[in-house]
Amino acid sequence: MLQGLKVTLLAGVTSMVVAILLGLLGAWAKLSGSKPARLAAEAYTTVIRAIPELVLMLLVYYGMTQLTQDLVRGLSESFKDFRLNLDPFTAGVLTLGFIYGAFTTEVFRGAFLAVQKGQLEAAVACGMGRALMVRRVLLPQMMRYALPGLGNVWMVLIKATALMSVIQLPELVRNAEIAAGATRMPFTFYFAVALLFLCITAVSMLGLQGAERWANRGVRR
């Protein structure tokens, strides 16, 4: 069970990192002046949010490997023996990161729009370059607005890692499944998993409160 907890947390954190990176990219595309980039980001967030996580998970784990194999084999005779194996961890993390990237895109977009324009103008007036401005002025303020939203995404994401049990990743739920089958005590094991998830949620809530306090340390109330 503890082994499973470790896998769950690791998978959750890795997916969250992927989601944040994709979210920043998506938000940048949505706010960019280029129309194709905006349309692509819009399509990404709309489509991903309309399809169940389970279907996407199965699609990536079983479908994508097969699709790329078929495509690559079709390219040339010399690739006849090409095989693509995606391990459950990679497939699961990529899927969840991809799905929740769509949600973080919206979070970052809102946060960016919430930063006052004058702040950026002031940075330019001080002679900051683009990179310096983003690092010193934009990101710290964006984080303040984005944190509550990111926290919500994290709470949903950590629960969604349970779906990785479907593709046989030995995380909490999968391990409980195995233990339940071996001992014939399904209720005991699934209930223990539920309690562990409650602990994760409770600890995350406390952690987020702390993080929000830290991000808002410069705000007058």
């Binding site: 709309t46 489509v47 309309a50 399809i51 169940p52 996580e53 389970l54 279907v55 996407l56 199965l58 699609l59 079983y62 479908g63 994508m64 097969q66 699709l67 629960k159 969604a160 890692t161 349970a162 779906l163 049990s165 479907v166 739920v173 409980a176 499944e177 339940a180 014939r184 005590m185 399904p186 209720f187 005991t188 699934y190 209930f191 998993v193 539920a194 998830f197 409650l198 949620t201 409770a202």
Partner: protein
């Protein structure tokens, strides 16, 4: 891409769609009925009333739906004897019942929180005005607080309905043949994974986008009194006033 398998499986997919929608509608309806009293209990100042609801909501919002589903469907097997003694085993043996039960309790927990948020967001002035005109208790809730709270909570509630629709895909894991179940079962036999899962994804996409469209139209219809009148909109003033059109 093997189109034949998609065409061959279409009738089954349509059956799956019916099951998906059926489960969604039943869970949403019962969940909504449960959510209102839960929200009101949660708002009570008596800890004997709000504490159990708080625990219920915390549990169902803090654990994955998948675990709740397995807990009810597989977990009930551990207490088979007592369920049989109570004559309830035929219910918990049935994956359809367990699926609907898990989804209903889950959505009831989420919806009660959404409603609670709506009730708390009703402006104080409106409640005070209601009291000033002599309303109290039930009448105040029925005439002032609930209509306003429902309107405030509606956008969040539509999201919850769409999430629940997507969450019904989990019942395929307890052997039900909804859209996902059809795709998974057929793919396990024919190995046409991406064709079938992409088809399933397309089905969900169409249903969700359609639902979003309906909700948006509905919201537009019921917010008529909040929209600017056509003649107040910028640009409309330039058009010459012609009086009522002849009928």
């Amino acid at each position: 891409m093997d189109w034949q398998i998609i065409i061959d499986t279409l009738p089954k997919f349509l059956e799956g769609t019916v099951l998906t929608i059926q489960i969604t509608v039943i869970s949403v309806a019962i969940g909504l009925v449960l959510a209102l009293p839960l929200a009101l209990l949660r708002l009570s100042s008596n800890p004997l009333l709000w504490a159990p609801v708080y625990g219920f909501v915390f549990f169902f919002r803090g654990t994955p739906l998948l675990v709740q589903l397995f807990l009810i469907y597989y977990g009930s097997g551990q207490f088979r004897d007592s369920f049989e003694a109570a004559g309830l085993w035929f219910l918990f043996r049935d994956p359809w019942f367990c699926g609907v039960l898990a989804l209903t309790l889950n959505t009831a927990a989420y919806t009660s929180e959404i409603l609670r948020g709506g009730i708390l967001a009703v402006p104080h002035g409106e409640i005070e005005a209601g009291r000033a005109t002599g309303m109290s208790g039930l009448l105040l809730y029925r005439r002032i607080i609930l209509p306003k709270a429902v309107r405030l909570a509606f956008p969040a509630y539509t999201n919850e309905v769409i999430f629940l629709l997507q969450a019904t895909s989990l019942v395929s894991l307890i052997t039900l043949m909804d859209i996902t179940g059809v795709a998974a079962r057929t793919a396990a036999r024919s190995f046409d994974y991406y064709e079938l899962y992409l088809t399933a994804a397309a089905f969900y996409l169409v249903i969700v986008l359609g639902l979003q469209y309906i909700f948006k139209r509905f919201e537009w219809r019921v917010s008529g009194h909040l929209r600017a009148r056509p003649e107040d909109r910028p640009g409309a003033a330039a058009a010459p006033a012609q009086g009522p059109a002849p009928r």
